[in-house]
């Protein structure tokens, strides 16, 4: 199980690079993972070309959920919103570099769910966003 807590995850959990909030912002969304009580909010500023210019996450929860949010926000800097919409479960797992069982997968994917719900402009986050 040392894999689950590889250095990158602990490091990003303790010293996140993108923790914070943006006000004003162009996109903001938040949701919970009922299993662990994780909470994630993601704020984005988008430039005239439709690319992500600035991004932050805020919230609380397990190391997996928080590190995943930090790595995810980092990975979308400069990306178009269309590209963000195409992100999948596998992209997040690649960022984390670990394999997860069904329970912890929910922790890892909360940030992707929040991000995509925000970019799609949905009223509510849905597991549909992270199915693929």
């Amino acid at each position: 199980m040392e894999d689950l807590y590889r250095e990158l995850i602990i490091d990003r959990y303790k010293n996140p690079l993108y923790r914070g909030t943006l006000d004003p912002n162009d996109i903001t969304f938040q949701d919970d993972n009922p299993l662990c009580g994780d909470h994630i909010q993601i704020d984005l500023r988008v430039n005239g070309d439709g690319r992500v210019q600035e991004g932050t996450f805020d919230g609380h929860g397990c190391a997996i959920s928080q590190a995943s949010a930090d790595l995810l926000v980092e990975s979308i800097m400069g990306k178009t919103l269309e590209e963000v919409k195409q992100l999948t479960k596998q992209d997040v797992l690649d960022l984390l570099g670990i394999e997860l069982g069904p329970v912890r997968l929910k922790c890892a994917l909360l940030s992707l769910k929040v991000l995509k719900a925000g970019v799609y402009g949905l009223g509510e986050a849905s597991d549909d966003l992270i199915e693929a």
């Binding site: 919970d32 009922p34 299993l35 329970v103 199915e131």
Partner: protein
């Protein structure tokens, strides 16, 4: 298609080696009530309890991860088996009855208003009748019924007339548990949709016996039970189109069905968990998955073909017996269910005497009292067949019926 070899199949079912009395082997002709269970199903549940018993969805320890994975894997197996587009359209319930009640109490309460019509059929099991009676009384609904013809088929002309009233819902049995009639589900559903109705299929007697594909049927809801398809009791399935499930309020409240809880309010979880409050039947879900894999390994086409051979032979032999009256259509239009009366002898007496020879049949109204009223009878004797039954067993049944007649003179 590899035809069924009953010797091989029977070896998979430990109970079929049992004797009812010394030298009297069990002849089990009551699979419509509940089927017997193969070793693989019993072992899958046993292994869960012995090796990885844990609660699901919450814990992060190894056992919890393994149990969660097995529980969710079974959901995928079921989705694949009935051709659902996504495993999230599969809701675990206790049984068919609970699945139908779930739809009545959630979709029904959200969508049915005073004066709305719900169309059922005269051949329904009580489980697809009473839930609608309950919501009808609560909401002042009109219940209408597709008529059953004297030879046990649905009268589609009466159905077309009922559809002129644009019912909100059409709910019907795919296969009758008494008559064995295989109803033209695809046609009934297409006609319902043309009239703007939502459809609910009671598939308790079809999913275990014939290939059922929910997307091909295009039904909105479909329900079935594990215990009639080689699986354990205590678990059933509600299939629903995701768009409908998403729009429905929760069924029961409790753990696992919530996203967030405050002292006075809560936010519901997503489907399927929204409808699965509390610790579910974990071992049973795993057993259901094993049952589906067992049926898939045999092949549903082979199962259906074998049962067709059984019912054809059974009807032919039953007709030879003086005083026997069989209910329902001819073998080409029915599954492996033969309900009959024996002139002047009550079905309970028939069943009791057959039991002496180890022959298990069901006697009574089979949870379909209105259908028996329709045919002016109080009860029938029902012999039903599954993949493990043989023509030899049917011969034993016929011999038993002659004994019954002899005793009653």
């Amino acid at each position: 298609m590899k035809p069924i070899n009953t010797d091989e199949i029977r070896a998979d079912f430990p109970i079929l080696r049992r004797e009812i009395a010394p030298g009297v082997p069990l002849i089990y002709l009551d699979s419509t009530a509940t089927s017997q269970k193969p070793d693989t199903v019993i072992q899958a549940m046993d292994q869960y309890y012995r090796v990885y018993n844990a609660n699901i969805h919450r814990g992060v320890h190894t056992l919890a991860e393994e149990a969660t994975a097995a529980y969710e894997k079974a959901r995928e197996t079921v989705a694949d088996f009935i051709g659902a587009g996504s495993a999230r359209e599969i809701i675990y319930t206790r049984n068919t009855t609970e699945a139908i009640n779930l739809v009545a109490m959630t979709w029904g309460r959200a969508n049915l208003q005073s004066g709305d019509t719900v169309v059922l059929t005269e051949m329904e099991h009580h489980s697809n009748l009473v839930p609608w009676q309950l919501i009808a009384a609560e909401r002042n609904l009109k219940l209408e019924f597709i008529e059953v013809t004297p030879n046990g088929l649905l009268d589609l002309d009466s159905y077309r007339k009922l559809l002129q009233d644009h019912p909100k819902l059409v709910a019907f049995a795919h296969i009758s548990n008494v008559l064995g009639t295989i109803n033209p589900a695809k046609e009934i559903i297409a006609l319902a949709h043309q009239a703007g109705s939502v459809t609910m299929v009671d598939a308790a007697q079809s999913v275990p016996h014939i290939q059922v594909n929910v997307q091909d049927l295009d039904t909105d809801f479909l329900a079935f039970s594990a215990h009639k398809m080689c699986g354990p009791t205590g678990i059933g399935v509600l299939y629903g189109k995701k768009q409908l499930l998403d729009g429905m309020p929760p069924f029961m409240g409790g753990g696992d069905m919530i996203k967030r809880v405050y002292l006075r309010t809560f936010a519901p979880n997503e489907v399927p968990h929204k409808f699965e409050a509390g610790t579910p039947a974990i071992a049973e879900a795993i057993g259901l998955g094993a049952a589906v894999r067992y049926l898939q390994s045999v092949g549903m086409e082979a199962v259906a073909q074998h049962e067709h051979e059984m019912i054809s032979y059974a009807l032919e032999r039953l007709e030879e017996v003086p005083g026997v009256k069989i209910f329902g259509p001819t073998a080409d239009k029915k599954g492996g269910v033969a309900s009959f009366t024996l002139s002047g002898i009550h079905p309970h007496d028939v069943a009791q005497i057959l039991d002496r020879d180890g022959i298990a049949v069901r006697a009574g109204h089979h949870c379909a009292m209105p259908l028996h009223d329709k045919f002016n009878i109080t009860a029938t004797t029902r012999a039903s067949f599954y993949l493990y039954n043989t023509t030899h067993e049917i011969d034993q049944l016929i011999e038993g019926l002659y004994k019954v007649k002899q005793i009653f003179g």
